[in-house]
């Protein structure tokens, strides 16, 4: 099994070098490799793994991956949200802006950090730092780890919807590469609010979904006890999302999960980020933005009777080239 993975990884590098378009075939292979049994237990076990309190957090990874990290605070508008962290670090000596949700690593810290559920000011801080990165040509690494945006009255009062919407739009216009890594829970709009990027990675045992399995069970299946079943329906695992082409690549964790050896998990993330940044940094900004948009533009499954329409859509894409 390990050998196959190694071979596959070699194949991928080769394909990249030779500019062979075998991405689709590799995707199929990998999807099978990462375990084929789509049953309740596998999805649910990932959900549980992704939520482990022992699982490394954003700051844990930052401390291992980046040298000389300086945390920068505040949205310059209302507050500094401890559930969202950010700053500047060096990745192999090159400056990078990092943002990410931060859970607590114990009960007390979790209280202070709202369990990694950010308020509007958290999303606005992230946007401020991303714009700062853009201004000075630094790429952005975004680490996603949240069950969702904070759902309280203050969040509504201060415009959590506006804050997420603004980020979604602005992240698509940022003229430096953005690498997203879902390291734990990718919960709905709260995750997506810092989840737009040129390359979206998921750690092997992380999850990403529009609603929690519990939420899905109680709202759609009208039976709160069916969370395990809901998890299997929602298809929130890295494998599922890779198959759906919603994410670009899965980053392996050490056997047993990232918490068993954070150093190894961090090294894998570091390699993946570095590889992508080396690829993305030289790209013309127009191409970067165009490809970022087109990737997300394709997400969605629907049926369209009239094929003629493809003509105008292609023209619309054509316009994008001139961006």
């Amino acid at each position: 099994m390990k050998d196959i993975r190694k071979k596959l990884s070699e194949l991928k590098e080769l394909a990249l070098k030779e500019r062979l378009n075998i991405a689709e075939e590799i995707r199929q292979l990998e999807s099978k490799l990462h375990g084929g049994n789509h049953n309740n237990n596998s999805a649910w076990s990932k959900v549980k793994l992704s939520r482990l309190i022992e699982r490394p957090t954003t700051l844990d990874y930052i401390n291992i991956i980046f040298d000389d990290f300086i945390e920068l605070h505040g949205d310059r508008l209302f507050a500094d949200d401890p559930a969202m962290v950010g700053g500047i670090g060096l990745l192999n000596g090159r400056p990078v802006t990092i943002i990410g949700q931060q859970r607590g690593r114990n009960l007390k810290e979790n209280l202070k950090r709202n369990g990694g559920m950010a308020l509007p000011e958290g999303y606005r801080k992230a946007l401020r730092l991303v714009r700062q990165a853009e201004k000075f040509g630094r790429p952005v690494v975004s680490l996603v780890d949240t069950q969702g945006a904070y759902g309280g009255v203050e969040a509504e009062e201060r415009g959590i919807a506006e804050a997420i919407a603004r980020n979604l739009k602005e992240f698509f216009a940022v003229k430096v590469p953005i690498i997203v890594v879902i390291i734990g829970q990718g919960g709905s709009g709260g995750a997506l609010g810092i989840g737009i990027g040129d390359t979206v990675f998921m750690l092997e045992n992380s999850t990403y979904s529009v609603i929690s399995p519990e939420g899905c069970a109680s709202i759609l299946l009208r039976d709160g006890s069916k969370a395990q079943f809901a998890a299997s329906i929602m298809k929130p695992t890295a494998r599922d999302l890779y198959f759906f082409k919603v994410i670009d690549e899965i980053i392996e964790e050490p056997a047993g999960g990232a918490h068993t050896n954070p150093e190894v998990a961090a090294a894998n993330i570091k390699n993946a980020i570095w590889r992508e940044l080396v690829r993305l940094m030289p790209l013309p900004k127009e191409q970067l933005l165009k490809e970022r948009f087109e990737k997300f533009r394709k997400m969605g499954v629907f049926f369209e009777k009239q094929d003629a329409k493809k003509g105008i859509l292609r023209r619309l894409f054509g316009r994008k080239n001139n961006r």
Binding site: E156, I164, F172, L192, M234, F293, L316
Partner: protein, 296 residues
């Protein structure tokens, strides 16, 4: 105005060759109009007379409650002559997650509403000014946004950007369509991304928040208008009240998650009665589209 002239020519020729356009003429008595007849105001419980209510654009004459209406009614009240040239009319939802009963639910809503999905997109005129318009239907799966709604809204924005037409979106939505899982979440990304195409070309986006607008719709294009209008009393928020009431025990302000609350909190430019909506949109379209020309 020669630009409008050109648009008209394009619209009748080039455009219709590439898109299948369905032209609707929405008039009183159109069978598409009345999804459900009302006999009592849900707000003040006043007995209502259907023709009178229709005359008042489905606004309670007693308490100003704005009823939820269908896209066809909205078109009748907004578009010149009730004429609406619909595009992307034949997109239909799939069931990518094999979610239990999802196809049945879609089929049933199609039958109930006569709509194919939770948004209608097209081109029409507002006081002679051509605009792209998207109108969401709360009657169809609670106006939830799946791949079809996301795609149609995105196309509407790209088309407006390409053709230099202002765009008006009437929202009415319970949020993302969870039956489509991660694909529905990604519609937030896709539609928000499309707003950049409008921005780049300085095409104004007018959002009208109608009752109810919540979840991912608010947290994407719903909050990205150059001008954001709302109908009086409309529920506008992010998290469902159920979530808020249930899991977080906080005392909610009286007007919590209403259009009025959102205006107080700085997220709504103006609250506009249904009877003033058409002329307000018309004024705003002129003030945005013609500023540079007007000052030349």
């Amino acid at each position: 105005m020669s630009v409008l002239g050109k648009v008209r020519a394009w619209f009748r020729g080039e455009y219709s060759r590439k898109h299948k356009l369905i032209t609707h003429f929405i008039k009183d008595g159109d069978e598409r109009l009345f999804v459900e007849k009302k006999h009592e105001c849900p707000a003040c419980h006043e007995d209502l007379n259907q023709p009178e209510l229709e005359e008042a654009m489905y606004v309670c004459p007693n308490c100003n409650h704005h009823f939820r209406i269908t896209p066809w009614e909205r078109i009748k009240f907004t578009a010149d002559g009730g004429v609406f040239h619909e595009f992307a009319s034949d997109l239909e939802s799939q069931n990518p997650l094999d979610f239990p009963d999802y196809e049945k639910q879609i089929a049933s809503d199609m039958k109930k509403t006569g709509l194919k999905e939770a948004v209608v997109t097209g081109i029409c005129r507002i006081e002679r000014k051509e605009v792209v318009m998207a109108i969401m239907a709360f009657q169809f799966r609670g106006g939830s946004v799946g791949s079809v709604v996301g795609e149609k809204v995105t196309r509407a924005m790209l088309l407006a950007a390409e053709k230099g037409l202002p765009i008006v979106i009437f929202t009415a939505s319970g949020g993302m369509r969870m039956q489509e899982g991660i694909f529905s979440l990604m519609q937030m990304a896709k539609t928000s991304a499309a707003v950049n195409f409008l921005e780049e070309r300085k095409i104004p986006l007018f959002i009208v928040l109608t009752d109810p607008t919540s979840g991912g719709t608010t947290a994407s294009y719903g909050m990205l208008g150059d001008v954001i209008l709302a109908e009086p009393g409309a529920l506008v928020g992010f998290a469902g009240r159920r979530v808020l009431d249930g899991t977080i025990k906080e005392k909610l302000p009286d007007n919590f998650q209403t259009a009025e609350f959102q205006q107080e909190k700085g997220f709504v430019d103006a609250i506009v009665s249904r009877s003033d909506m058409r002329k307000t949109l018309s004024f705003l379209i002129e003030a945005h589209a013609d500023a540079q020309r007007a000052w030349k």
